[in-house]
Protein backbone atom coordinates (compact mmCIF):
# COMPACT_ATOMS: atom_id res chain seq x y z
CA UNK A 1 0.00 0.00 0.00
CA UNK A 2 1.24 3.45 -0.89
CA UNK A 3 -0.24 6.58 0.52
CA UNK A 4 1.48 9.71 -0.71
CA UNK A 5 0.64 13.22 -1.69
CA UNK A 6 0.68 12.05 -5.31
CA UNK A 7 -1.31 8.84 -5.59
CA UNK A 8 -3.51 6.69 -3.40
CA UNK A 9 -2.85 3.10 -4.39
CA UNK A 10 -4.97 0.60 -2.44
CA UNK A 11 -5.89 -2.19 -4.87
CA UNK A 12 -7.28 -4.36 -2.07
CA UNK A 13 -9.94 -1.68 -1.56
CA UNK A 14 -10.33 -1.06 -5.31
CA UNK A 15 -8.85 2.39 -4.91
CA UNK A 16 -6.39 4.09 -7.23
CA UNK A 17 -6.45 7.86 -7.34
CA UNK A 18 -4.11 10.38 -8.83
CA UNK A 19 -3.64 13.77 -7.26
CA UNK A 20 -4.19 16.34 -10.00
CA UNK A 21 -1.54 18.56 -8.52
CA UNK A 22 0.99 16.21 -10.17
CA UNK A 23 -0.14 17.56 -13.54
CA UNK A 24 -0.47 21.23 -12.73
CA UNK A 25 1.92 22.42 -10.06
CA UNK A 26 5.23 23.95 -11.28
CA UNK A 27 6.91 22.69 -8.09
CA UNK A 28 6.28 19.15 -9.27
CA UNK A 29 8.09 19.82 -12.53
CA UNK A 30 11.09 21.22 -10.67
CA UNK A 31 11.27 18.03 -8.64
CA UNK A 32 10.77 15.84 -11.72
CA UNK A 33 13.92 17.23 -13.27
CA UNK A 34 16.09 15.73 -10.53
CA UNK A 35 13.92 12.83 -9.34
CA UNK A 36 12.75 11.52 -12.74
CA UNK A 37 14.69 12.84 -15.71
CA UNK A 38 18.11 12.84 -14.03
CA UNK A 39 17.50 9.30 -12.72
CA UNK A 40 16.32 7.62 -15.91
CA UNK A 41 17.62 6.56 -19.29
CA UNK A 42 16.36 9.16 -21.76
CA UNK A 43 15.94 8.47 -25.47
CA UNK A 44 18.46 10.40 -27.53
CA UNK A 45 18.07 9.18 -31.11
CA UNK A 46 18.34 6.34 -33.59
CA UNK A 47 21.52 4.96 -35.09
CA UNK A 48 20.23 5.56 -38.62
CA UNK A 49 20.15 9.30 -38.02
CA UNK A 50 23.96 9.31 -37.90
CA UNK A 51 24.88 6.58 -40.34
CA UNK A 52 28.28 7.91 -41.56
CA UNK A 53 31.40 9.05 -39.76
CA UNK A 54 31.03 12.78 -39.06
CA UNK A 55 27.22 12.73 -39.18
CA UNK A 56 25.59 14.64 -36.36
CA UNK A 57 22.18 15.66 -35.02
CA UNK A 58 21.69 18.24 -32.31
CA UNK A 59 18.78 18.01 -29.93
CA UNK A 60 17.57 18.64 -26.42
CA UNK A 61 17.68 15.53 -24.27
CA UNK A 62 16.80 15.60 -20.59
CA UNK A 63 16.99 19.39 -20.64
CA UNK A 64 20.52 19.47 -22.06
CA UNK A 65 21.63 20.37 -25.56
CA UNK A 66 23.48 17.34 -26.94
CA UNK A 67 25.14 16.25 -30.16
CA UNK A 68 24.39 12.72 -31.32
CA UNK A 69 27.12 11.81 -33.79
CA UNK A 70 29.49 9.29 -35.37
CA UNK A 71 33.12 9.65 -34.38
CA UNK A 72 36.17 9.00 -36.56
CA UNK A 73 36.06 5.27 -35.73
CA UNK A 74 32.43 5.03 -36.83
CA UNK A 75 31.10 4.69 -33.29
CA UNK A 76 27.98 6.50 -32.08
CA UNK A 77 28.86 9.19 -29.54
CA UNK A 78 26.90 11.76 -27.57
CA UNK A 79 28.56 15.03 -26.59
CA UNK A 80 27.15 17.76 -24.42
CA UNK A 81 26.75 20.67 -26.80
CA UNK A 82 28.63 23.23 -24.72
CA UNK A 83 32.09 24.64 -25.31
CA UNK A 84 34.50 23.86 -22.50
CA UNK A 85 35.61 27.51 -22.54
CA UNK A 86 32.40 29.49 -21.91
CA UNK A 87 29.66 26.91 -22.57
CA UNK A 88 28.38 28.28 -25.88
CA UNK A 89 26.84 25.60 -28.07
CA UNK A 90 29.53 24.38 -30.44
CA UNK A 91 27.02 23.15 -32.99
CA UNK A 92 23.89 25.06 -33.94
CA UNK A 93 22.84 23.17 -37.07
CA UNK A 94 20.00 20.64 -36.64
CA UNK A 95 21.96 17.93 -38.46
CA UNK A 96 24.69 17.42 -41.02
CA UNK A 97 28.19 16.06 -41.45
CA UNK A 98 31.30 17.75 -40.14
CA UNK A 99 34.98 17.25 -39.39
CA UNK A 100 34.99 19.96 -36.73
CA UNK A 101 32.70 21.41 -34.11
CA UNK A 102 33.69 25.07 -34.02
CA UNK A 103 32.64 27.41 -31.26
CA UNK A 104 32.29 30.77 -32.98
CA UNK A 105 32.40 32.77 -29.73
CA UNK A 106 36.17 32.64 -29.09
CA UNK A 107 37.12 30.11 -31.72
CA UNK A 108 37.77 26.89 -29.79
CA UNK A 109 37.31 23.91 -32.06
CA UNK A 110 36.82 20.17 -31.52
CA UNK A 111 37.23 17.18 -33.80
CA UNK A 112 34.71 14.40 -34.48
CA UNK A 113 35.90 12.62 -31.35
CA UNK A 114 35.25 15.65 -29.16
CA UNK A 115 38.95 16.42 -28.67
CA UNK A 116 39.83 20.08 -28.33
CA UNK A 117 42.14 20.71 -31.29
CA UNK A 118 42.15 24.48 -31.73
CA UNK A 119 42.54 27.33 -29.22
CA UNK A 120 43.28 30.78 -30.67
CA UNK A 121 46.12 32.44 -28.74
CA UNK A 122 46.87 29.32 -26.79
CA UNK A 123 50.23 30.78 -25.69
CA UNK A 124 48.48 33.19 -23.31
CA UNK A 125 47.24 30.38 -21.07
CA UNK A 126 49.52 29.70 -18.11
CA UNK A 127 51.81 26.65 -18.00
CA UNK A 128 49.88 23.48 -17.27
CA UNK A 129 47.01 24.34 -19.57
CA UNK A 130 46.47 21.16 -21.54
CA UNK A 131 43.93 20.83 -24.35
CA UNK A 132 43.56 17.15 -23.44
CA UNK A 133 41.67 18.25 -20.33
CA UNK A 134 39.06 20.13 -22.33
CA UNK A 135 37.42 17.57 -24.59
CA UNK A 136 33.68 17.97 -25.11
CA UNK A 137 31.93 16.49 -22.08
CA UNK A 138 29.81 13.36 -22.42
CA UNK A 139 26.83 12.12 -20.38
CA UNK A 140 27.81 9.63 -17.65
CA UNK A 141 26.12 6.82 -19.57
CA UNK A 142 25.42 6.30 -23.28
CA UNK A 143 24.10 2.99 -24.56
CA UNK A 144 21.81 1.49 -27.17
CA UNK A 145 19.31 -1.27 -27.65
CA UNK A 146 18.84 -2.50 -31.21
CA UNK A 147 19.57 0.88 -32.74
CA UNK A 148 17.76 3.04 -30.17
CA UNK A 149 20.30 5.22 -28.33
CA UNK A 150 19.71 6.42 -24.80
CA UNK A 151 21.67 8.55 -22.39
CA UNK A 152 21.54 8.88 -18.63
CA UNK A 153 22.75 11.64 -16.37
CA UNK A 154 22.69 9.31 -13.35
CA UNK A 155 26.15 7.81 -12.77
CA UNK A 156 24.57 5.07 -10.63
CA UNK A 157 21.87 3.99 -13.06
CA UNK A 158 21.27 0.32 -13.91
CA UNK A 159 22.46 -1.02 -17.27
CA UNK A 160 20.18 -0.07 -20.13
CA UNK A 161 19.07 -3.67 -20.70
CA UNK A 162 18.15 -4.10 -17.07
CA UNK A 163 16.41 -0.72 -17.06
CA UNK A 164 14.34 -1.55 -20.15
CA UNK A 165 13.10 -4.74 -18.46
CA UNK A 166 10.32 -6.38 -20.48
CA UNK A 167 10.11 -3.38 -22.83
CA UNK A 168 12.89 -5.05 -24.83
CA UNK A 169 10.39 -7.64 -26.09
CA UNK A 170 8.30 -4.85 -27.57
CA UNK A 171 11.28 -3.08 -29.12
CA UNK A 172 12.19 -6.45 -30.65
CA UNK A 173 8.74 -6.74 -32.22
CA UNK A 174 9.32 -3.40 -33.95
CA UNK A 175 12.84 -4.14 -35.16
CA UNK A 176 11.93 -7.65 -36.27
CA UNK A 177 9.95 -6.08 -39.12
CA UNK A 178 13.26 -5.62 -40.87
CA UNK A 179 14.91 -8.63 -42.56
CA UNK A 180 18.34 -7.33 -41.51
CA UNK A 181 17.20 -6.01 -38.14
CA UNK A 182 17.93 -2.49 -39.33
CA UNK A 183 15.32 0.20 -39.02
CA UNK A 184 15.62 3.67 -40.40
CA UNK A 185 14.32 7.00 -39.19
CA UNK A 186 12.72 8.55 -42.26
CA UNK A 187 13.44 12.14 -43.28
CA UNK A 188 10.87 14.66 -42.04
CA UNK A 189 10.36 15.50 -38.36
CA UNK A 190 7.11 16.54 -36.78
CA UNK A 191 7.82 19.03 -34.01
CA UNK A 192 4.85 20.56 -32.25
CA UNK A 193 3.90 21.86 -28.85
CA UNK A 194 1.01 20.86 -26.66
CA UNK A 195 -0.05 23.22 -23.91
CA UNK A 196 -0.38 20.40 -21.43
CA UNK A 197 1.62 18.50 -18.85
CA UNK A 198 3.99 15.95 -20.39
CA UNK A 199 2.52 13.05 -18.41
CA UNK A 200 -0.82 13.61 -20.09
CA UNK A 201 0.83 12.59 -23.37
CA UNK A 202 2.27 9.49 -21.70
CA UNK A 203 -1.27 8.50 -20.76
CA UNK A 204 -2.81 9.55 -24.05
CA UNK A 205 -0.26 7.68 -26.16
CA UNK A 206 -1.55 4.32 -24.98
CA UNK A 207 -4.96 5.03 -23.56
CA UNK A 208 -7.42 3.22 -25.82
CA UNK A 209 -10.39 4.17 -23.66
CA UNK A 210 -10.52 7.56 -25.39
CA UNK A 211 -10.54 6.18 -28.92
CA UNK A 212 -14.31 5.87 -29.38
CA UNK A 213 -15.20 9.43 -28.51
CA UNK A 214 -12.06 11.48 -29.11
CA UNK A 215 -11.39 9.77 -32.45
CA UNK A 216 -14.92 9.20 -33.70
CA UNK A 217 -14.14 10.97 -36.98
CA UNK A 218 -11.07 8.77 -37.52
CA UNK A 219 -13.15 5.64 -36.90
CA UNK A 220 -15.72 6.99 -39.37
CA UNK A 221 -12.95 7.49 -41.91
CA UNK A 222 -11.78 3.91 -41.42
CA UNK A 223 -15.35 2.69 -41.77
CA UNK A 224 -15.90 4.74 -44.92
CA UNK A 225 -12.75 3.14 -46.30
CA UNK A 226 -14.16 -0.35 -45.78
CA UNK A 227 -12.54 -1.24 -42.46
CA UNK A 228 -14.71 -3.08 -39.94
CA UNK A 229 -14.89 -0.88 -36.84
CA UNK A 230 -17.86 -2.31 -34.92
CA UNK A 231 -16.95 -4.10 -31.69
CA UNK A 232 -17.85 -7.80 -31.62
CA UNK A 233 -21.00 -8.55 -29.66
CA UNK A 234 -21.00 -10.02 -26.19
CA UNK A 235 -17.29 -9.83 -25.40
CA UNK A 236 -17.34 -6.70 -23.30
CA UNK A 237 -15.15 -4.82 -25.77
CA UNK A 238 -15.43 -1.15 -26.68
CA UNK A 239 -13.22 -1.50 -29.75
CA UNK A 240 -13.33 -3.75 -32.85
CA UNK A 241 -10.67 -6.12 -31.55
CA UNK A 242 -9.30 -7.28 -28.26
CA UNK A 243 -6.23 -5.67 -26.75
CA UNK A 244 -4.54 -5.92 -23.42
CA UNK A 245 -2.73 -3.35 -21.31
CA UNK A 246 0.07 -4.19 -18.94
CA UNK A 247 3.12 -2.93 -17.11
CA UNK A 248 6.55 -4.11 -18.26
CA UNK A 249 8.59 -3.25 -15.18
CA UNK A 250 10.36 -0.02 -14.14
CA UNK A 251 7.38 2.07 -15.23
CA UNK A 252 7.39 0.93 -18.85
CA UNK A 253 4.03 -0.26 -20.12
CA UNK A 254 2.24 -1.26 -23.27
CA UNK A 255 -1.05 -1.92 -24.95
CA UNK A 256 -0.89 -4.95 -27.19
CA UNK A 257 -3.84 -5.17 -29.54
CA UNK A 258 -5.08 -7.55 -32.20
CA UNK A 259 -4.91 -5.41 -35.30
CA UNK A 260 -8.04 -4.14 -37.01
CA UNK A 261 -6.70 -0.94 -38.52
CA UNK A 262 -4.24 -2.34 -41.07
CA UNK A 263 -0.48 -2.51 -40.95
CA UNK A 264 1.97 -1.71 -43.72
CA UNK A 265 3.89 -4.67 -42.23
CA UNK A 266 1.97 -6.76 -43.04
CA UNK A 267 -1.82 -6.65 -42.90
CA UNK A 268 -3.66 -5.28 -45.88
CA UNK A 269 -6.67 -3.00 -45.57
CA UNK A 270 -8.66 -1.38 -48.34
CA UNK A 271 -7.06 2.04 -47.76
CA UNK A 272 -3.79 0.68 -49.20
CA UNK A 273 -5.50 -0.15 -52.52
CA UNK A 274 -5.84 -3.42 -54.42
CA UNK A 275 -2.45 -3.03 -56.05
CA UNK A 276 -0.74 -3.17 -52.63
CA UNK A 277 -2.08 -6.64 -51.80
CA UNK A 278 0.64 -8.56 -53.57
CA UNK A 279 3.56 -6.73 -52.00
CA UNK A 280 2.08 -6.88 -48.50
CA UNK A 281 1.68 -10.63 -49.01
CA UNK A 282 5.36 -10.81 -50.02
CA UNK A 283 6.39 -8.88 -46.90
CA UNK A 284 4.38 -11.30 -44.84
CA UNK A 285 5.89 -14.32 -46.52
CA UNK A 286 9.36 -13.03 -45.71
CA UNK A 287 8.33 -12.57 -42.07
CA UNK A 288 7.02 -16.13 -41.87
CA UNK A 289 10.16 -17.58 -43.47
CA UNK A 290 12.45 -15.66 -41.15
CA UNK A 291 10.51 -15.70 -37.90
CA UNK A 292 8.15 -18.65 -38.17
CA UNK A 293 4.37 -18.50 -38.44
CA UNK A 294 3.71 -17.64 -34.82
CA UNK A 295 6.16 -14.79 -34.39
CA UNK A 296 5.40 -13.42 -37.84
CA UNK A 297 1.77 -13.18 -36.77
CA UNK A 298 2.87 -11.43 -33.59
CA UNK A 299 4.79 -8.85 -35.65
CA UNK A 300 2.19 -8.43 -38.38
CA UNK A 301 -1.17 -8.91 -36.71
CA UNK A 302 -0.80 -6.93 -33.51
CA UNK A 303 -0.30 -3.24 -33.00
CA UNK A 304 1.41 -2.07 -29.89
CA UNK A 305 1.76 1.28 -28.18
CA UNK A 306 4.81 1.24 -25.94
CA UNK A 307 5.83 3.73 -23.28
CA UNK A 308 9.47 3.55 -22.23
CA UNK A 309 9.63 5.40 -18.95
CA UNK A 310 9.64 8.33 -18.70
CA UNK A 311 9.18 10.09 -22.04
CA UNK A 312 9.62 7.78 -25.03
CA UNK A 313 6.67 6.41 -26.94
CA UNK A 314 6.94 3.93 -29.79
CA UNK A 315 3.62 3.28 -31.43
CA UNK A 316 3.61 0.42 -33.89
CA UNK A 317 0.14 0.91 -35.29
CA UNK A 318 -0.95 2.43 -38.60
CA UNK A 319 2.80 2.93 -39.03
CA UNK A 320 5.72 3.11 -36.60
CA UNK A 321 6.27 6.39 -34.83
CA UNK A 322 8.97 7.32 -32.36
CA UNK A 323 7.72 10.12 -30.19
CA UNK A 324 9.47 11.89 -27.37
CA UNK A 325 8.47 14.98 -25.46
CA UNK A 326 9.98 17.44 -23.08
CA UNK A 327 8.28 19.73 -20.56
CA UNK A 328 9.15 23.40 -20.93
CA UNK A 329 6.64 24.19 -18.17
CA UNK A 330 4.19 22.25 -16.03
CA UNK A 331 1.50 23.02 -18.61
CA UNK A 332 3.54 23.00 -21.81
CA UNK A 333 5.52 20.33 -23.65
CA UNK A 334 7.48 20.12 -26.87
CA UNK A 335 6.83 16.97 -28.87
CA UNK A 336 9.12 15.47 -31.50
CA UNK A 337 7.91 12.62 -33.68
CA UNK A 338 9.60 10.57 -36.38
CA UNK A 339 8.49 7.80 -38.70
CA UNK A 340 10.49 4.57 -38.58
CA UNK A 341 10.68 2.16 -41.51
CA UNK A 342 12.65 -0.91 -42.43
CA UNK A 343 15.92 -0.23 -44.22
CA UNK A 344 15.09 -2.68 -46.99
CA UNK A 345 11.56 -1.69 -47.90
CA UNK A 346 10.77 -0.81 -51.50
CA UNK A 347 9.93 2.70 -52.58
CA UNK A 348 6.27 1.72 -52.82
CA UNK A 349 6.26 0.12 -49.38
CA UNK A 350 7.94 3.21 -47.93
CA UNK A 351 5.37 5.49 -49.55
CA UNK A 352 2.55 3.28 -48.23
CA UNK A 353 4.02 3.37 -44.73
CA UNK A 354 4.24 7.17 -44.80
CA UNK A 355 0.73 7.51 -46.17
CA UNK A 356 -0.62 5.18 -43.50
CA UNK A 357 1.21 7.20 -40.85
CA UNK A 358 -0.66 10.34 -41.84
CA UNK A 359 -4.12 8.78 -41.64
CA UNK A 360 -3.83 8.86 -37.87
CA UNK A 361 -0.67 10.42 -36.51
CA UNK A 362 0.78 13.87 -36.46
CA UNK A 363 -0.38 17.47 -36.27
CA UNK A 364 -2.15 17.16 -39.63
CA UNK A 365 -3.43 13.60 -39.16
CA UNK A 366 -7.04 12.61 -38.64
CA UNK A 367 -6.52 11.79 -34.95
CA UNK A 368 -3.57 13.57 -33.29
CA UNK A 369 -5.08 17.09 -33.52
CA UNK A 370 -8.03 15.83 -31.47
CA UNK A 371 -5.61 14.35 -28.93
CA UNK A 372 -3.90 17.73 -28.66
CA UNK A 373 -7.29 19.35 -28.15
CA UNK A 374 -8.19 16.78 -25.48
CA UNK A 375 -4.95 17.28 -23.57
CA UNK A 376 -5.29 21.05 -23.67
CA UNK A 377 -8.88 20.74 -22.45
CA UNK A 378 -7.62 18.59 -19.57
CA UNK A 379 -4.91 21.08 -18.71
CA UNK A 380 -7.43 23.93 -18.64
CA UNK A 381 -9.64 21.86 -16.35
CA UNK A 382 -6.70 21.06 -14.09
CA UNK A 383 -6.68 24.64 -12.86
CA UNK A 384 -9.34 23.30 -10.46
CA UNK A 385 -6.88 20.89 -8.84
CA UNK A 386 -7.11 22.49 -5.43
CA UNK A 387 -10.91 22.10 -5.34
CA UNK A 388 -11.35 18.81 -7.24
CA UNK A 389 -8.23 17.06 -6.11
CA UNK A 390 -8.29 13.49 -7.39
CA UNK A 391 -8.57 11.65 -10.70
CA UNK A 392 -10.08 8.16 -10.61
CA UNK A 393 -7.87 5.55 -12.27
CA UNK A 394 -9.42 2.20 -11.36
CA UNK A 395 -10.62 0.78 -14.68
CA UNK A 396 -10.02 -2.96 -14.64
CA UNK A 397 -8.69 -2.99 -11.10
CA UNK A 398 -11.10 -5.74 -10.06
CA UNK A 399 -10.23 -8.05 -12.96
CA UNK A 400 -8.38 -11.32 -12.58
CA UNK A 401 -5.91 -12.00 -15.38
CA UNK A 402 -5.50 -9.78 -18.43
CA UNK A 403 -6.66 -6.23 -18.34
CA UNK A 404 -7.91 -4.58 -21.50
CA UNK A 405 -6.30 -1.81 -23.52
CA UNK A 406 -9.35 0.22 -22.52
CA UNK A 407 -8.65 -0.45 -18.83
CA UNK A 408 -6.01 1.46 -16.90
CA UNK A 409 -3.50 -1.05 -15.54
CA UNK A 410 -0.80 0.22 -17.92
CA UNK A 411 -1.44 3.80 -16.79
CA UNK A 412 -1.17 2.73 -13.17
CA UNK A 413 2.14 1.00 -13.95
CA UNK A 414 3.58 4.29 -15.19
CA UNK A 415 2.23 6.27 -12.26
CA UNK A 416 3.45 3.76 -9.64
CA UNK A 417 7.01 4.10 -10.92
CA UNK A 418 6.70 7.86 -11.17
CA UNK A 419 5.43 8.00 -7.59
CA UNK A 420 8.17 5.68 -6.30
CA UNK A 421 10.86 7.89 -7.83
CA UNK A 422 9.29 11.16 -6.71
CA UNK A 423 9.01 9.92 -3.13
CA UNK A 424 12.35 8.04 -3.01
CA UNK A 425 14.14 10.62 -0.83
CA UNK A 426 11.11 11.77 1.12
Amino acid sequence: MTDSPYIIDQPEDMVFRLNRRTLADPEILTREQTAIFDKSWIYCGHESEVSESGDFCTRNVGGRPVILCRDSDGGVRVFLNACRHRAAMVCREPCGNTRRYNCFYHGWSYNQDGDLVGVPGEESYPPGFDKANFSLAEPPHVDSYRGFWFISFDPEIADLNEYLAEATEYLDLVVDQSPSGQMQVIQGTQEYDIRANWKLLVENSFDDYHLLTTHKTWLDYMKDSGVQVEPPKGQGLLLPSKGIGKGLGNGHAVIDNINFRGRPVAKWISIYGEDAKEEIEEIRTELVERLGEQRAARVADTNRNLVVFPNLVINDGSSVTIRTFWPVAADHMKVTAWALGTKEESERARARRLDSFLTFYGPGGFATPDDVEALEAVQAGLATWREAEWSEMTRGLNKEGDQLNTDEEHLRAFWRQWNAMMTADA
Binding site: T189, D193, T213, A339, E347, L354, L358, G364, D370, A380
Partner: protein, 163 residues
Amino acid sequence: MNANSISRSDVEEFLFEEAALLDEWRLDEWLELLTDDAIYQIPSTDAPDSDARHALFLIADDATRIKARVKRLNDTEAHAESPRSRTRRMIANVRITGYEGDSLTVSANFSVFRYRRNSPLRQYVGRYEYLLRTTDDGLRIAERRVILDPTELGTLGAVSFIL
Protein backbone atom coordinates in the same frame (compact mmCIF):
# COMPACT_ATOMS: atom_id res chain seq x y z
CA MET B 1 -7.57 25.46 -72.99
CA ASN B 2 -4.15 27.05 -73.15
CA ALA B 3 -2.96 28.54 -69.89
CA ASN B 4 -0.90 31.30 -71.51
CA SER B 5 -3.87 33.63 -71.59
CA ILE B 6 -4.18 33.53 -67.78
CA SER B 7 -2.86 36.69 -66.16
CA ARG B 8 -1.62 37.31 -62.67
CA SER B 9 -4.80 39.19 -61.80
CA ASP B 10 -6.85 36.18 -62.93
CA VAL B 11 -4.82 34.02 -60.58
CA GLU B 12 -5.08 36.53 -57.74
CA GLU B 13 -8.83 36.70 -58.09
CA PHE B 14 -9.01 32.91 -57.98
CA LEU B 15 -6.77 32.65 -54.90
CA PHE B 16 -8.69 35.38 -53.09
CA GLU B 17 -11.95 33.55 -53.78
CA GLU B 18 -10.43 30.33 -52.49
CA ALA B 19 -9.19 32.11 -49.35
CA ALA B 20 -12.67 33.49 -48.71
CA LEU B 21 -14.24 30.04 -49.00
CA LEU B 22 -11.74 28.61 -46.53
CA ASP B 23 -12.04 31.48 -44.05
CA GLU B 24 -15.83 31.14 -44.22
CA TRP B 25 -15.60 27.35 -43.75
CA ARG B 26 -17.50 26.76 -47.03
CA LEU B 27 -15.50 23.59 -47.47
CA ASP B 28 -17.89 21.75 -49.80
CA GLU B 29 -17.70 24.68 -52.20
CA TRP B 30 -13.92 24.70 -51.81
CA LEU B 31 -13.85 21.06 -52.92
CA GLU B 32 -15.42 22.16 -56.20
CA LEU B 33 -12.30 24.18 -56.94
CA LEU B 34 -10.21 21.02 -56.98
CA THR B 35 -9.56 18.69 -59.90
CA ASP B 36 -10.54 15.03 -59.52
CA ASP B 37 -6.88 14.10 -59.03
CA ALA B 38 -5.96 16.99 -56.73
CA ILE B 39 -3.36 16.73 -54.00
CA TYR B 40 -2.90 18.82 -50.86
CA GLN B 41 0.42 18.65 -49.06
CA ILE B 42 2.28 20.25 -46.17
CA PRO B 43 5.89 19.05 -45.84
CA SER B 44 7.49 18.76 -42.42
CA THR B 45 9.18 22.00 -41.46
CA ASP B 46 12.69 20.47 -41.53
CA ALA B 47 12.23 18.98 -45.02
CA PRO B 48 10.36 21.67 -46.96
CA ASP B 49 11.56 20.54 -50.39
CA SER B 50 11.07 16.81 -49.98
CA ASP B 51 8.79 14.31 -51.69
CA ALA B 52 5.90 12.75 -49.75
CA ARG B 53 6.86 9.30 -51.04
CA HIS B 54 10.23 9.53 -49.33
CA ALA B 55 9.73 11.89 -46.40
CA LEU B 56 7.30 12.26 -43.54
CA PHE B 57 4.96 15.18 -44.19
CA LEU B 58 2.44 16.88 -41.94
CA ILE B 59 -0.25 16.39 -44.59
CA ALA B 60 -0.05 14.48 -47.88
CA ASP B 61 -3.62 14.05 -49.11
CA ASP B 62 -4.74 12.64 -52.42
CA ALA B 63 -8.18 13.61 -53.72
CA THR B 64 -9.93 10.88 -51.73
CA ARG B 65 -8.20 11.91 -48.52
CA ILE B 66 -9.00 15.58 -49.11
CA LYS B 67 -12.70 14.71 -49.32
CA ALA B 68 -12.39 12.62 -46.16
CA ARG B 69 -10.66 15.56 -44.47
CA VAL B 70 -13.52 17.87 -45.39
CA LYS B 71 -16.08 15.33 -44.23
CA ARG B 72 -14.22 15.13 -40.91
CA LEU B 73 -14.07 18.91 -40.57
CA ASN B 74 -17.81 19.18 -41.28
CA ASP B 75 -18.43 16.86 -38.31
CA THR B 76 -18.86 18.54 -34.94
CA GLU B 77 -16.85 15.64 -33.45
CA ALA B 78 -13.67 16.87 -35.12
CA HIS B 79 -12.87 18.24 -31.69
CA ALA B 80 -9.79 20.23 -32.67
CA GLU B 81 -12.06 22.37 -34.85
CA SER B 82 -15.21 22.26 -32.79
CA PRO B 83 -15.86 25.03 -32.12
CA ARG B 84 -14.18 26.07 -35.29
CA SER B 85 -11.15 28.30 -35.46
CA ARG B 86 -11.63 31.74 -36.89
CA THR B 87 -9.08 32.23 -39.61
CA ARG B 88 -8.06 35.15 -41.79
CA ARG B 89 -5.75 34.67 -44.74
CA MET B 90 -3.55 37.33 -46.29
CA ILE B 91 -2.25 36.32 -49.68
CA ALA B 92 0.45 38.37 -51.38
CA ASN B 93 3.41 38.29 -53.76
CA VAL B 94 1.45 36.19 -56.21
CA ARG B 95 3.65 35.04 -59.11
CA ILE B 96 3.00 32.84 -62.10
CA THR B 97 6.16 30.77 -62.19
CA GLY B 98 5.51 28.69 -65.30
CA TYR B 99 3.10 27.63 -68.04
CA GLU B 100 2.74 24.16 -69.43
CA GLY B 101 -0.10 23.31 -71.80
CA ASP B 102 -3.37 23.77 -69.95
CA SER B 103 -1.63 24.25 -66.62
CA LEU B 104 0.31 26.90 -64.78
CA THR B 105 2.41 26.94 -61.64
CA VAL B 106 1.85 29.68 -59.10
CA SER B 107 3.69 30.78 -56.01
CA ALA B 108 2.14 33.05 -53.37
CA ASN B 109 3.07 34.15 -49.87
CA PHE B 110 0.56 33.74 -47.09
CA SER B 111 -0.05 34.76 -43.55
CA VAL B 112 -2.91 32.94 -41.87
CA PHE B 113 -4.14 34.16 -38.52
CA ARG B 114 -5.96 31.59 -36.42
CA TYR B 115 -8.01 32.47 -33.37
CA ARG B 116 -9.74 30.17 -30.91
CA ARG B 117 -11.35 30.85 -27.58
CA ASN B 118 -8.91 30.28 -24.67
CA SER B 119 -6.01 30.02 -27.09
CA PRO B 120 -3.33 32.47 -28.08
CA LEU B 121 -3.21 33.85 -31.61
CA ARG B 122 -1.46 31.45 -33.95
CA GLN B 123 0.07 32.91 -37.07
CA TYR B 124 1.02 30.55 -39.91
CA VAL B 125 3.44 32.11 -42.38
CA GLY B 126 4.84 30.61 -45.54
CA ARG B 127 4.18 30.19 -49.22
CA TYR B 128 1.75 28.31 -51.40
CA GLU B 129 2.89 26.41 -54.45
CA TYR B 130 -0.02 25.69 -56.78
CA LEU B 131 -0.46 23.75 -59.95
CA LEU B 132 -3.56 25.25 -61.53
CA ARG B 133 -5.36 23.79 -64.51
CA THR B 134 -7.52 25.69 -66.94
CA THR B 135 -10.89 24.04 -67.54
CA ASP B 136 -14.19 24.98 -69.16
CA ASP B 137 -15.37 25.94 -65.67
CA GLY B 138 -12.38 28.18 -65.03
CA LEU B 139 -9.22 27.59 -63.04
CA ARG B 140 -9.02 24.45 -60.91
CA ILE B 141 -6.47 23.33 -58.32
CA ALA B 142 -4.49 20.20 -59.22
CA GLU B 143 -1.77 20.63 -56.61
CA ARG B 144 -1.77 22.70 -53.47
CA ARG B 145 1.45 22.61 -51.52
CA VAL B 146 1.87 24.62 -48.33
CA ILE B 147 5.46 25.39 -47.34
CA LEU B 148 5.68 26.71 -43.81
CA ASP B 149 8.47 29.11 -42.84
CA PRO B 150 8.74 28.25 -39.12
CA THR B 151 11.62 25.87 -38.37
CA GLU B 152 9.26 23.81 -36.23
CA LEU B 153 5.50 23.82 -35.88
CA GLY B 154 6.07 24.55 -32.17
CA THR B 155 3.44 26.72 -30.59
CA LEU B 156 1.35 26.62 -33.76
CA GLY B 157 0.36 23.19 -32.45
CA ALA B 158 -1.74 21.30 -34.95
CA VAL B 159 -2.78 21.98 -38.53
CA SER B 160 -6.34 20.89 -37.88
CA PHE B 161 -8.00 23.22 -40.41
CA ILE B 162 -7.35 23.59 -44.14
CA LEU B 163 -4.21 25.72 -44.26
